[in-house]
């Protein structure tokens, strides 16, 4: 049992250290500044850990290493005259890491699949938001459901399909096998739907009055209005295409000549291929290769930072 009625003598007090307002004010200001210093210090530490791997990658790629030595030093800097720029020439001569042809593979696949995804997404979103037909909502529902299913459920069967269709050998066959299962991305369609839906119907009616048909309206009005979203979609597709590993690796099991650069990068340092005195064992060259694979996307990100961050933040798309 506790007190049944509130004591009339009770005074609600504010927790103020002492009664001097000016002193309290000064103390609060000091505490606030100390708090801010802590926050910035914390963020700096986080930033350090976020950037450390990037710094280490670049730093290591510029250190000297002799064949046969597995390790390099752990210094945090290299004097300018000791920088091993030559690593970036040597990396082009590494066995099984033929950068020009890997880039051809990757750029072809990423380029074609991005273009393909762009048109498929635009067409699908146009149909879902602008056109009316029977079964539209049912199809959209079906699309959304496929989004919920983990892609690992498809890979075994898709591999069998590719094998049966004889798509695991030959340049264009492998290119096709690499990109086909990921051309449709329901997330992108969903994202574009949201943008298309915001375009007022009056614009469509106005375009009809001006004698524009649906096709012209799509390309002359809807696509330009939705261009920020489309840029986001294209960027996300490029990123995920460039970084894809599991499936591209699976389809090139038979013929690594047509592998994506990311897949080849992992095999670069695959010790199961054989430990020896090959230049593949050099950490510095591995890191030079890693820089070459990583840098294009980082530049892309820094240039299109806003589009990428907004897109990811809004739709929560995972790469």
């Amino acid at each position: 049992m506790k007190t049944p009625t509130l004591d009339q003598n009770i005074v609600l007090v504010i927790d103020k250290k002492g009664k001097d307002t000016i002193k309290t004010t000064k103390l609060d200001k000091t505490l606030k500044i100390i708090g801010l210093i802590f926050v910035y210090a914390f963020l700096l530490i986080v930033a350090f850990f976020a950037l450390l791997p990037f710094y280490w990658m670049i730093l290591t790629s510029l250190k000297y290493q002799d064949i046969g030595h597995f390790t390099v030093d752990n210094k945090f800097y290299i004097p300018f005259n000791e920088i091993a720029w030559s690593n970036y020439i040597k990396v082009f001569q590494v066995d099984g890491f033929d950068i020009p042809s890997l880039l051809v593979n990757t750029l072809t696949v990423v380029g074609i699949s991005t273009i393909g995804t762009f048109f498929i997404t635009v067409f699908a979103s146009f149909a879902f938001t602008r056109l009316q037909f029977k079964g539209r909502d049912a199809v959209f529902m079906l699309f959304l459901i496929t989004m919920m299913i983990p892609s690992e459920l498809f890979v075994t069967s898709n591999f069998i399909t590719m094998y049966r269709l004889n798509l695991l050998n030959g340049r264009w066959q492998i290119y096709f096998a690499t990109m086909a299962p990921f051309l449709v991305n329901v997330f992108y369609i969903y994202l574009l739907n949201q943008t298309f839906k915001q375009i007022p119907n009056e614009l469509y009616l106005a375009a009809r009055v001006d004698g524009k048909n649906d096709w012209q309206y799509l390309w002359k009005v809807m696509v330009p209005i939705a261009s920020p979203t489309l840029i986001t979609i294209v960027l996300l597709k490029v990123i995920s295409g460039w970084n894809a590993y599991a499936w591209p690796k699976t389809v090139v099991m038979g013929d690594a000549t047509y592998a994506q650069i990311t897949v080849a990068l992992r095999d670069f340092a695959d010790f199961s291929i054989g430990i020896g005195s090959s230049s593949r064992d050099l950490v510095t060259l591995q890191m030079a290769g890693t820089v070459i694979v990583t840098l294009p996307l980082i530049i892309l990100f820094l240039v299109f930072r806003k589009y990428i961050m907004r897109g990811v933040g809004r739709a929560g798309i995972k790469g």
């Binding site: 506790k2 049944p4 004591d7 307002t21």
Partner: protein
């Protein structure tokens, strides 16, 4: 508590790189709100009234100047240490908490300064006093009558009834409910047991060197009460929450979530949350703007009632002059960050110091014409509307001057004759509302969008031109340049 603002300036820094200039939100503001008053900060949007309120709350810091609560300089004090209650424009009720929790939330942060009490003795004594002398029958009846439609006693209802009737805590109500009222012997046993417990407790305390005074406070060896600073107990919070809920009349809604309430009820919850911690000042930011017209009138009366009942110094911000005029003790009219005029609402209305205040107060708004003062008379479009007057103060020596002539809508008299004094207006529309009718008229020298005049509903008016006589005290003159008031006086006598 008295609130004083001295030479307050607030400048929002711009961004020179982006070409955004500094904005002066409040400039050289001096305001004094007396203890226990309801003051209204009034002005159009962007006039700096909300900024002023936020500076009083401590959410914004003045660029210069000082704010005093009584003699305490709180200019740079953080809001949490000012002891204020603030009702936000859109209430800012926590949507994930029930109404009860919303109101209780501020209390969970507060401490109380009080003297140590023997709660056990106090509770037992209260129990005895409620049961003794056959008073338990009252409780028995109350519990037995706490049924819904069936004959079975509803426990929740019984508890609520007990709490409301005896003003007790939920846990104490549970104790009362759990007693066996079937026979007098049982109750007597409870009383005897309670008395024994009291003696035991007193003994225990005296062993520790304490005694108890007649208000159950612990006394030390020098017979002094012992001070303590502590958090509020759940029961104390409960009582405070229910008290304030009763004050704003939302006792029935306590278990609901804010979104289940109407706008008016949410408003009350917001006020309750601001009041529950017994603040030194209550601040209301556009409290009625989210309500519909009917609720607005009802709620503003409510605010007035609550303010009078609690006697708490209150400042409320509004752009609606009618709202401010109807409930405030004092109004402060602001424009462009400056104080235009202050005073009792009716005085400000009757005696506006400048054209802005004249135009801002009153519905329908004042009618403004371009006119002239010459030959000791006031003219609008060469029609003499008032004669035998002379300008006063700094305009005393002027014999002729172009001026703004502002006439309140109720300043027109309908007399169907051609007197020498009057103003001809073409009536375009008539809207009759009971005993009054509002005429919408046109005039080629008007400066306001429309001329609206209000006259007695019995006057036979049709759509045509009339000549109206003007009540002299409803005419205000203003300087063309400074828009300041020009006073004049009658010289006919």
């Amino acid at each position: 508590m008295e609130i004083r603002l001295e030479n307050i300036n607030k400048i929002f820094k711009g961004d020179k790189k982006k070409g955004v200039e500094d904005t002066i939100a409040v400039s050289n503001l001096n305001i004094k709100v007396n203890n226990g008053e309801l003051a209204g900060l009034l002005g159009p949007s962007g006039c700096g009234k909300s900024t002023t309120l936020y500076m009083i709350a401590g959410l914004k810091e003045p660029s210069s100047g000082n704010i005093f609560f009584d003699k305490e300089d709180v200019t740079h004090l953080v809001p949490e240490k000012r002891g204020i209650g603030l009702v936000f424009q859109n209430y800012a009720l926590y949507p994930h908490m029930s109404v009860y929790k919303n109101i209780a939330f501020p209390l969970t942060n507060l401490k109380v300064l009080t003297f140590k009490q023997s709660i056990k003795v106090k509770t037992l004594e209260l129990l005895i006093s409620l049961l003794d002398n056959d008073k338990y029958l009252e409780i028995k009846d109350l519990i037995n009558s706490s049924t819904l439609d069936s004959k079975k006693i509803n426990k929740d209802l019984a508890l609520r009834n007990l709490i409301n009737k005896y003003h007790i805590s939920p846990s104490f109500a549970k104790t009362l409910f759990s007693l066996d009222y079937s026979s007098k012997e049982n109750i007597n046993d409870v009383i005897i047991k309670a008395k024994e417990d009291i003696n035991k407790e007193k003994e225990k305390l005296s062993n520790k060197g304490f005694s108890i005074d007649n208000e159950y406070y612990l006394l030390d060896q020098d017979n002094k009460r012992i001070e303590e600073k502590r958090k509020l107990s759940k029961d104390e919070i409960d009582i405070l929450v229910r008290d304030v809920a009763k004050l704003v009349q939302i006792e029935e809604q306590l278990d609901k979530k804010p979104k289940e309430l109407s706008g008016g009820q949410q408003q009350r919850v917001a006020i309750a949350r601001a009041l529950v911690k017994k603040p030194r000042v209550l601040l209301l930011d556009e409290p009625l703007s989210n309500l519909d017209a009917r609720l607005r009138i009802k709620t503003r009366e409510e605010i007035r009632r609550i303010q009078k009942e609690t006697g708490i110094t209150t400042i409320f911000v509004t752009h609606d002059q009618e709202e401010a005029m109807s409930i405030c003790d004092d109004i402060f009219v602001m424009n462009n960050g400056k104080l235009m005029q202050e005073g009792k609402p009716i005085e400000v209305y009757k005696d506006p110091k400048n054209l802005f205040v004249a135009k801002f107060l009153g519905t329908p708004p004042i009618n403004v014409f371009k006119g002239e003062f010459k030959d000791n008379a006031i003219f609008v479009d060469n029609e003499k509307i008032l004669d035998n007057v002379t300008l006063t103060n700094e305009y005393e020596d002027k014999s002729s001057l172009e001026v703004y002539v502002a006439i309140r809508p109720e300043g027109f008299i309908f007399e169907d004759n051609n007197e020498t004094l009057g103003l001809s207006l073409k009536v375009n529309e008539i809207s009759l509302s009971g005993k009054e009718q509002t005429l919408i008229c046109s005039h080629n020298q008007r400066l306001s969008e429309q001329i609206k005049i209000v006259i007695d509903g019995d006057n036979p008016i049709s759509i045509k031109e009339y000549r109206f006589k003007i009540k002299p005290n409803k005419i205000h003159l203003f300087d063309l340049k400074t828009e300041e008031r020009i006073y004049f006086k009658d010289i006919s006598k």
